[in-house]
C-alpha cells in the first residue's frame, strides 16, 4: 500500500535568524518602554505614578496571558492528539518558554503596586478590616478570608509558578524529542498536558479574580474568570498567527500553508464569538437583575470618559472579526488574517484597559505617551524574548509523531 509515497524536501533543521531590523526594532521598543515607564514612575504627580502602575499591570498581565495561552495551545494539541498543528508547534512553544520571565515581571509589578498602594488599594489599606477604624469597610472585611495580602501573594506564586513549570517542561520535552526521537517525549507530554489543563482550567478564573477583579473589591462576577480566559485565548491565538505569518514572510516555515492558517483563523473567529458570548452573558445578567452592587461596574464604564471605549471594545472584538473572517477566501489569505489578528491584539488591549482603568485611575484616565510607551515596551520585550527563544531551536519538531500528518493537512 503506497498511501504515503509523497515526497517533500523541507529543511526541518532550519533555524530562525533573529537579527537585523526585527532585532533592532524590538530593542528600540524596549528602550521606548523603559523611558516611558521611568518618566511615569519618577513623576512627582501621584496620579501619574498610579497611571503608570495601572499600565504596567495591564501590559504585564497581557504579556503573561499571551505566553500562558501559548502553553495552553501546546497542551491542547497534545491532549487532543492533534496532527494538523505539529509543524507550527515551535511558535507557541517559544511563547510558553518565555512564560517564566513574564510571570516574574507580573509578580514584581503586582507586588510593588500592592505595597506602594498604587494598585489594589480598594482592599489593601489601613483600617479597612478594623471595625473601630473610620476606614472600616464591611464588604471588604467580609472578603478577608480570601482577599488578604499573604493569601494573594501565595496564590500568585502558586498559579503562575505552576503554569511556568508546566510550560517549561512541555517545551523542554519537545526539544529533547528532536535529539532522541521515539515516542517517549510525546507520551510524557500527553500526560503532563492533561494535568496542566485541569490545573489551568480551575485556577485561571481565580487568578484573574485576584489580579484584575480585585481592583474593584466591592464588585464581583462569577463570569469574570471565563471572560478573562476568552480574552487570553483570543489574544494568544492572534499572537501565534502574527508570528507565523511574519516568520513565513521572512522565508521560513515553508511547510506551514494556508490550510494551517485557515484552522488557526477559524479558532480566532470562533473564540472571538465565544469572548462576545461571555462578555454579553456577564453584561446581560447584571443589566437585567439591576442590583446596585453589581451594576456599579458598568455604571463606571458608562461614564462619559469610558463610554465610547466601552462600545469600541465590542466593535473591534466582535463585529470586526465577525465580518472580516466569515469568508473562506479571506480567512485563507495571510494579509487579511494578519490584519485581523493585529486588530484583535489591539482590541484586547482595549478590553484590558476597560477592565483595569476604571478601578485604578478612575476619572483620571488617559491615553498618551505612558499608555503607548508601556505597550510598545512590552511588545518589544515579548518580541525580543520569543524570537530569541525561537532562533535557538529548529523550526520544526522533526521527530514529532504527527509531523507527516501536519505536512499533508488540507481543509
Amino acid at each position: 500500500m503506497g498511501t504515503h509515497n509523497h515526497h517533500h524536501d523541507y529543511n526541518f533543521g532550519e533555524k530562525f535568524q533573529f537579527a537585523g531590523i526585527a532585532k533592532i526594532l524590538s530593542l528600540v521598543g524596549i528602550a521606548v518602554g523603559v523611558v516611558a515607564i521611568a518618566i511615569g514612575l519618577l513623576s512627582s504627580d501621584h496620579i501619574m505614578v498610579e497611571r503608570t502602575y495601572a499600565n504596567l499591570l495591564l501590559m504585564g498581565y497581557y504579556f503573561t496571558c499571551v505566553c500562558a495561552a501559548g502553553a495552553f495551545f501546546l497542551a491542547l494539541q497534545f491532549v487532543t492528539q492533534s496532527g494538523w498543528s505539529a509543524g507550527l508547534i515551535r511558535i507557541p512553544q517559544a511563547m510558553a518558554s518565555v512564560l517564566p520571565i513574564a510571570a516574574v515581571i507580573l509578580f514584581v509589578i503586582v507586588g510593588l503596586g500592592l505595597f506602594t498602594h498604587n494598585l489594589y488599594h480598594h482592599w489593601h489599606a489601613d483600617g479597612l478590616m478594623d471595625e473601630n477604624s473610620p476606614n472600616y469597610d464591611a464588604l471588604v472585611a467580609g472578603k478577608q478570608a480570601f482577599l488578604n495580602v499573604p493569601g494573594f501573594l501565595i496564590r500568585q506564586i502558586l498559579f503562575m509558578g505552576s503554569y511556568s513549570i508546566f510550560a517549561f517542561i512541555l517545551a523542554k520535552l519537545s526539544y529533547q524529542e528532536d535529539l532522541e526521537g521515539g515516542l517517549n517525549s510525546y507520551k510524557k507530554s500527553f500526560k503532563l498536558s492533561a494535568l496542566f489543563l485541569v490545573i489551568f482550567g480551575f485556577t485561571t478564573p481565580i487568578w484573574s479574580f485576584d489580579t484584575v477583579m480585585s481592583l474593584e473589591a466591592h464588585w464581583f462576577s462569577t463570569m469574570f474568570g471565563w471572560y478573562n480566559f476568552a480574552a487570553m485565548w483570543v489574544s494568544g491565538l492572534a499572537t501565534i498567527i502574527i508570528i507565523i505569518i511574519l516568520v513565513k514572510k521572512a522565508g521560513y516555515l515553508s511547510w506551514v500553508n494556508e490550510n494551517h492558517l485557515h484552522d488557526l483563523g477559524k479558532l480566532l473567529f470562533g473564540f472571538s464569538i465565544f469572548w462576545t458570548y461571555v462578555w454579553f452573558a456577564q453584561f446581560m445578567l447584571i443589566w437585567y437583575s439591576n442590583i446596585p452592587e453589581e451594576t456599579v461596574y458598568f455604571y463606571k464604564r458608562w461614564e462619559p470618559e469610558y463610554k465610547p471605549w466601552f462600545w469600541l471594545n465590542i466593535i473591534i472584538n466582535f463585529v470586526a472579526p465577525l465580518l472580516l473572517l466569515v469568508d473562506r477566501s479571506r480567512i485563507r489569505s495571510s494579509s487579511a488574517l494578519l490584519f485581523t489578528a493585529i486588530l484583535l491584539l489591539c482590541g484586547h488591549w482595549l478590553d484590558y484597559y476597560i477592565m483595569i482603568m476604571p478601578g485604578t485611575v478612575e476619572s483620571h484616565r488617559g491615553f498618551g505617551f505612558i499608555e503607548i510607551g508601556t505597550a510598545i515596551g512590552f511588545v518589544g520585550l515579548f518580541t525580543f524574548l520569543v524570537m530569541s527563544k525561537l532562533s535557538k531551536h529548529p523550526l520544526a519538531p522533526k521527530n514529532h509523531p504527527f509531523l507527516e500528518e501536519s505536512l499533508h493537512h488540507q481543509i
Binding site: M1, G2, T3, N5, F280, F283, M284, W287, Y288, S289, N290, R328, H408, Q410
Partner: protein, 178 residues
C-alpha cells in the same frame, strides 16, 4: 457495448485512483464522478469540483431564524401580553438577544441538514442511489460517462495501467440495495 452507460474503474488504493484520474485527464477523458469510502485530500481540486453552496443556504436559514425569533419575542413580550419585568421596557433589546440567537442557530442547523438531505436524495424511505456498493466499503471508484467517451478500450487500458483491480461496464446508472 452500445448499451453501456457508465464505465467504473475500481481501485483498491487511493493513490492509484488519483494516478488513474491524472492519466484519464491527460488523455482528455472526462470523469463523471469519483466515489471513495473515505475523504481523499486534494480530490476536489483535481476533479474541479466547485465549492459547496451550502453556506448560502445556511445564511438564508439563519436570517430567517433571526426574523422568526425576534418576531416571536416581539409578539409575546411587547405586543400581545406586555409584562413589567424589573421595570424594564417591554421592547428591550438585550434580553431579546439570547432567544433570537438560539432560534437563529436552530433554524440554521436544521435548515442545513434539510438542504443537505434534499440535495443528496437522502430523505427517509428513499432507496439510496449508488453506482457501486463497494465504494462505501473498500474500493475507490472512478466513474466515466461511456456515451461521451467512446474509446472504451483506451479507457480500460488506462484504468488497468493505473492499477484498477476491476473495470465494469454498467448498463444502468445506479445499482440499488434492494
Amino acid at each position: 457495448m452500445s448499451n453501456t452507460k457508465y464505465i467504473l474503474g475500481s481501485f483498491a488504493d487511493p493513490d492509484e485512483m488519483m494516478h488513474g484520474i491524472d492519466k484519464l485527464q491527460a488523455n482528455n477523458i472526462g470523469i463523471y464522478d469519483c466515489f471513495t469510502p473515505m475523504p481523499i485530500h486534494g480530490i476536489e481540486d483535481k476533479l474541479g469540483v466547485k465549492p459547496s453552496r451550502l453556506p448560502i443556504a445556511a445564511f438564508c436559514f439563519g436570517a430567517l431564524g433571526t426574523c422568526l425569533g425576534f418576531s416571536l419575542l416581539y409578539y409575546t413580550m411587547a405586543y400581545d401580553w406586555p409584562m413589567n419585568i424589573g421595570g424594564k421596557p417591554s421592547l428591550s433589546l438585550p434580553n431579546f438577544v439570547p432567544v433570537t440567537f438560539e432560534v437563529t442557530i436552530l433554524l440554521c442547523a436544521l435548515g442545513m441538514v434539510a438542504t443537505f438531505f434534499f440535495r443528496n436524495h437522502l430523505f427517509p424511505g428513499r432507496a439510496p442511489r449508488v453506482m457501486d456498493v463497494r465504494a462505501s466499503d473498500d474500493r475507490f471508484i472512478i466513474a466515466i460517462d461511456a456515451r461521451e467517451n467512446t474509446d472504451h478500450t483506451l479507457i480500460e487500458s488506462l484504468l488497468k495501467d493505473a492499477g484498477a483491480v476491476e473495470v465494469k461496464y454498467n448498463e444502468r446508472k445506479y445499482v440499488s440495495y434492494e
